[in-house]
Amino acid sequence: METAFIIPVKPVATGTKKEEVIRIQGLYKSFGTNQVLIDFNLQLFAGENVVVLGKSGSGKSVLIKCIIGLLQPDQGLVQVFGKNIPDLSHEELDKIRMKVGFLFQSNALYDSMTVKENLEFPLRRHSIRMEQQEVDELVLNALDDVGLAHTINLMPAELSGGMRKRIALARTLILRPDIILYDEPTTGLDPITGKEIIELMVDIQKKYKSSSLIISHDMNCVRMAADRVVMLIDGKCYVQGSYDELKRSADPRVKEYFE
């Protein structure tokens, strides 16, 4: 049996070490008898784009939901900005969530609200005291970032799939998060729109210097957005490295993604 081609995260020399914003160590998560994550480990550093690559049903979305506190891990450490998510109270978790944006696979735009109300929602709910003028300005800036300022008064049902994804991204950006978690950002989009969304994600990462953890099985997304790729196979971090490093791998389980 061929051994996995493991590329450890490169140790960085003291003095230039980047801040570790997410650290996952020994994460286990199961649903009944189905063990989804088994001793999963991951690190995300400030300003870095990491793509977690894996097949459908491999536990990628479970991983990202454990990071944001929507699911409780069975065992293991899930630290965001040095704080272990399962140990936090609701108030502490809300403070962390203000710094972490989450782009849902299904966009999760509120059907009963306009685009403007959708974008205002996180600002109002996180108990941030703001004048209406400031709120309006933030909403417009976020919409400008995704190039959809003209949709401000439309309902989500009036938008195309690509537009909905952009609006969801604008809502994710409105709190200027330090980390953005993307759950399958190109799923359900045609290749051209998918490419536009990936370009937008990369531009936003450059503009706001945020870190991104992208869950995907789209190789275009991996190629265009990833500084580092983590392959999630059999519930474990099977291999990690840059896109080019993994592309050169002789491991058949890695190669099948690049063929």
Partner: protein, 255 residues
């Protein structure tokens, strides 16, 4: 019914009881979702009034027209307003309004929350610093509990007006005489139990609708199933609560 079905039934009953318990443990704790509560009161109460009013009006009119021949046979036609009044206020008004309410509001809550669940909108709320249970469930259950008694009172009034028109189709009774006859024969013990049980009806519709929607699974098929089972279960619960209410009023000799 097989043992597995019984087990599922008890599991669901237990889950729903816990869900209702969670409502009681959370509704009085801050943060209070006042704006969303009033929005739900408007949607659930005000927007249901035309339907409850129309069905109440028809029920009052039809009941009067159907009772009339029997009362004539017994020679007590003059008791028609009193009889219809008691029937509407004590039983028909609350139960019909609650069933209409279950059909309209129970299904819409089940479908709305179900669709929010499967499209991750509930998760998105949680990530946005909102307690989705409080924002979605507590506000809706409070609104259904408080709005149904109001609808029942308004529905009763409209139903009695329908009855007044029904009385005047074949006879002539003044508006004042009709209402005097109705209210002279109604006592506090007729109105109070009916009013109190309508709070329980509203609570049942709200909890069942929210429970079914909040625990919706299996995509869009699950949403349809949630809406459907919310109506069926809340309708059955309305009759069970009605049965319990009549026993309780009997114990306290309010019949």
């Amino acid at each position: 019914m097989q043992i597995k079905n019984w087990k599922n039934w008890f599991d669901e009953a237990g889950d729903m009881s816990r869900f209702a318990g969670r409502f009681f443990s959370q509704w009085f704790r801050p943060r209070y979702e006042v704006a969303e509560f009033f929005r739900q009161c408007f949607i659930i109460g005000y927007k249901s009034l035309p339907l409850v009013g129309l069905t109440g009006f028809i029920m009052g009119l039809v009941l009067t027209m159907q009772l009339r021949p029997s009362l004539i046979d017994y020679g007590v036609e003059s008791q028609l307003p009193a009889m219809v009044g008691i029937a509407i206020v004590r039983e028909i008004g609350p139960v019909i309004a609650a069933l209409i309410f279950a059909g309209k509001i129970g299904s819409s809550i089940g479908a709305e929350l179900g669709s929010m669940k499967v499209t991750e909108q509930i998760d998105a709320m949680e990530v946005s610093g909102t307690n989705p249970f409080k924002y979605l469930v507590v506000t809706r259950v409070l609104a259904t509990t408080l709005m149904l008694p109001v609808l029942v009172m308004l529905g009763d009034a409209i139903s009695l007006y329908g009855s007044y028109l029904g009385v005047n189709i074949r006879g002539v009774t003044s508006f004042q005489l009709f209402w005097t006859q109705v209210f002279d024969n109604l006592s506090f013990s007729d109105v109070l139990p009916a009013f109190i049980k309508s709070f329980f009806f509203g609570f049942a519709v709200g909890v069942v609708g929210c429970y079914k929607g909040y625990n919706s699974r299996k995509g869009t098929e699950g949403v349809g199933r949630s809406a459907n089972s919310a109506v069926v279960l809340s309708s059955i619960l309305i009759f069970i609560i009605d049965l319990i209410a009549v026993q309780v009023t009997d114990i306290f000799e309010l019949n």
